[in-house]
Symmetry: C2
Subunit: 101 residues, 2 copies
């Protein structure tokens, strides 16, 4: 499996709007086991995104999907910064879908 | 919801053994929606753990469970370091269980 841990910094006052766009745009992602969008209670502009995919190619391919392209286009003006915290290789876990979504 | 993103550093050569203990010990956690254990491909000693809980109290209570206490006791000698990257408030996502596990 392939995983990502990332952090977005929203433009001021735009965090909730950006979260809505992220959740809507990512509703159906081939090869995705898990995609969680979280607020940072310590930083009113920060969003944490943690992802689990079957492999890196599925993640890459998702960026070309029309729904994701639209989300990127809508979300970009609301993003002040992005940071990739880690690229991971999930070994397993609990609460992961048995099959990709 | 309540989330955690953390990083363990395993003692040299002990990462896979520590991952096994983490996965076994966390097989049944009341209030837990997701618990993912991942290797860091860039650092042979690093493990990333991302968690989603219904609330912080469920997470705290899990640390008292006999299965988790046993995992902590078995895992502790294999841990060289721990770092809490973020405490989060998950807003939603895909691939989360409908109910806690």
């Amino acid at each position: 499996m392939y995983g990502l841990i990332g952090k977005f910094i929203a433009a001021e006052g735009q965090r909730d709007a950006l979260i809505d766009i992220l959740l809507e745009g990512m509703a159906s992602l081939p090869g995705c086991f898990s995609y969680v969008v979280a607020r940072d209670p310590q930083d009113a502009s920060a969003i944490w995104i943690t992802e689990v995919w079957d492999n890196a190619e599925s993640h890459r391919a998702s960026l070309e999907l029309p729904s994701v392209q639209q989300a990127i286009a809508r979300g970009r003006p609301l993003i002040a910064g992005m940071e990739r915290i880690a690229e991971t290789a999930p070994a397993g876990g609990h609460g992961l879908a048995k099959e990709p979504l």
